[in-house]
């Protein structure tokens, strides 16, 4: 009975177009933002459970935030524009390795003429890494103008294998290290050093919140409508004056940019030092599952999907320990696979449109509660 929009009248189109038109939603959002921006750092500072533990910040919240960002990127391409992609791991890798190159200085020998860029600070490196991923996305998005669906998925799979190979074999990208593994530069933003888990968490949080807001604005604007029009009925979209070339390549570029930035963060902030294996096809599938389970065509869904796919196995892993059941580690890790898989199947049967739709249905029910309709 608390959750009603009764009495909240809109007097302008701007108010009607707000992301959260219901006042209670806005209050909840501000509370959530206050908690994640102020509450968690404070709790961590005073070592209050559970946020006092480094493990929670370093191994759960940081990867959750970064993968949410990547899932937002993929959701723009697959959820909003309807272009199935299996190359997200590759675009993350482009972001990571190019950010690394820009961070350590680029030197391209060109027939005696050497093009060299001095090492850049971390923030421009990360954004330039995203830009390189966007260019890669446009190149591998060109086939989407002629092919759709599974065939396009195979074309983006080619990107995945190609870049796996490039970063494993072309030693220029790894600055000729003997092991093939590279180390992230010292994280410094405008004179501030980012080292402790809570600092890393705040850094990722700022990136995610900013990009989520920009992405939400895009998908509810003209370009977002063009993407959804292409997804739902491409012939009719062209007949109302949407250029498929522009709309699709923009989707590839923006999606890959966000995924590239996420890749750079994954490498710099979460991993610290990494090998090409960090961005293998498994990563692409993981992101795709997040987007499907979270909800295609929903920014909120990207977060929910990332939470489900990433956090659930970790929680399941802890349950036997917490309950004091003596099970071997191997058994637990196998059980985690079985339970996670079963839960995914169950969820997709109950609600094929993912968590985002479940959430919307729940809100709809809550509005009417305690009446059935």
């Amino acid at each position: 009975m608390l959750y009603r929009e009764a009495g909240q009248f809109k007097t302008s189109y701007a108010a009607d177009m707000a992301v959260f038109p219901i006042r209670q939603d806005r209050i909840a959002l501000w509370l959530l933002l206050a908690f994640v921006f102020i509450g968690i750092p404070l709790l961590a500072n005073f070592q209050i459970w559970p946020f006092g533990s480094e493990y929670l910040l370093r191994a759960i919240l940081v990867p959750f935030l970064i993968l949410s960002l990547a899932a937002i990127g993929l959701n723009i391409l697959t959820g909003y524009c309807g272009q199935l992609s299996l190359g997200s791991g590759a675009f993350m890798a482009i972001g990571a390795y190019c950010a690394y190159k820009f961070g350590t200085g680029v030197n391209i020998p060109l027939f005696g003429l050497a093009l060299s860029i001095p090492p850049l600070p971390v923030l421009p490196s990360i954004l330039l890494g995203g830009l390189m991923a966007a260019i890669g996305g446009i190149l591998f998005g060109i086939p989407s103008l002629r092919i759709k669906g599974l065939y396009l998925a195979v074309a983006t799979l080619a990107a995945q294998f190609f870049f796996d190979w490039v970063f494993a074999r072309v030693q220029w990208f790894t600055n000729y290290t003997s092991s093939g593994s590279v180390n992230a530069p010292q994280l410094e933003f405008f004179g501030l050093f980012v080292n402790t888990p809570i600092e890393r968490y705040m850094l990722c949080l700022i990136f995610v919140v900013v990009f989520a807001m920009l992405a939400k604005n895009l998908v509810r604007g003209n370009l977002g409508r063009q993407w959804m029009a292409i997804r739902d009925m491409d012939i009719a979209a062209e007949l109302i004056g949407i250029r498929p070339l522009y709309a699709k390549l923009m989707a590839f570029a923006i999606s890959s940019f966000i995924i590239g930035v996420a890749g750079a963060l994954w490498a710099f902030v979460y991993l610290g030092s990494w090998e090409p294996l960090a961005f293998s096809i498994d990563r692409s599938f993981q992101l795709l599952f997040m987007v499907i389970i979270g909800g295609l065509g929903s920014i909120l869904g990207s977060f929910l999907g990332a939470a489900f796919i990433l956090v659930l196995p970790i929680l399941l892993d802890q349950v036997p320990h917490a309950l004091g059941i003596p099970v071997s580690v191997e058994t637990v890790s196998l059980l985690v696979f079985i339970v996670t898989g079963a839960l995914i199947c169950w969820l997709l049967i109950v609600e094929p449109h993912g968590f985002a739709r479940l959430w919307a249905t729940a809100k709809e029910k809550l509005r009417l509660w305690p009446y059935p309709y």
Binding site: N217, N222, A229, R231, D232, M233, I240
Partner: protein, 266 residues
Amino acid sequence: MRAPAASDIAAGEAILSVKNVSLAFGGVKAINDVSFDIKKGEIRAIIGPNGAGKTSMLNVINGFYHPQHGQITFKGRTRQAMRPYEAARGGIARTFQNVALFKGMSALDNIMAGRTLKMRRGFLWQMLRIGPALTEEIAHRRRVEEIIDFLEIQAIRKIQVARLPYGLQKRVELGRALAMEPDLLLLDEPMAGMNLEEKEDMSRFIIDVNDHYGTTIALIEHDMGVVMDLSDRVVVLDHGVKIADGTPDEVKSNQAVIDAYLGVAH
């Protein structure tokens, strides 16, 4: 060169003329040497039995099919083939026989999508959604709301179109075409599968669009009562050939038309 605006053409002059157009798919001749014109401000019906080539004709006009022979002159510019995007840009809008809405979007978003060509702000502005981008979005929303009022679909504007009944979907689709503010509106069977009341509503909207906005309309329809009441002139196709062209009364009494519809005793 700028395409001539529709206002450069006086009412009563041809806004679109089709000359000797032939279209074949392999050995099947869908349209065979058909010529006719559409005058500015009129309601022009294209009728004929099933398979006569009516929808193919619309597809030729808005650039979806490219005819092998013949010319199409629209607003003074002659061309044989063009992309659907260019047709939309030139001011041709259409609706489809089986509704082609964007199923995952709300009725409002569907109609807003029709404003794409009129929106100017780049993606960086849209991403920030401040200042000019927001002003533009609101200005177009206001135009779309006028269309929503006109079509009497206020109550369903936020509902996903896949959940709407067929009659309302047809209305939203008309709204999307109107949002383009076209010079020429092509309606492919706007009343197919509707009951009497819905047909009356739709007829009212078509006449109002023609009256209020001065939009030239070409429509395909099977309901002869509707065709004879609404249209100023009728062109009749049969097996891809034009068999009659004229006012509803002329067409009604034309022997070739009666034969095509009722069959001929052999």
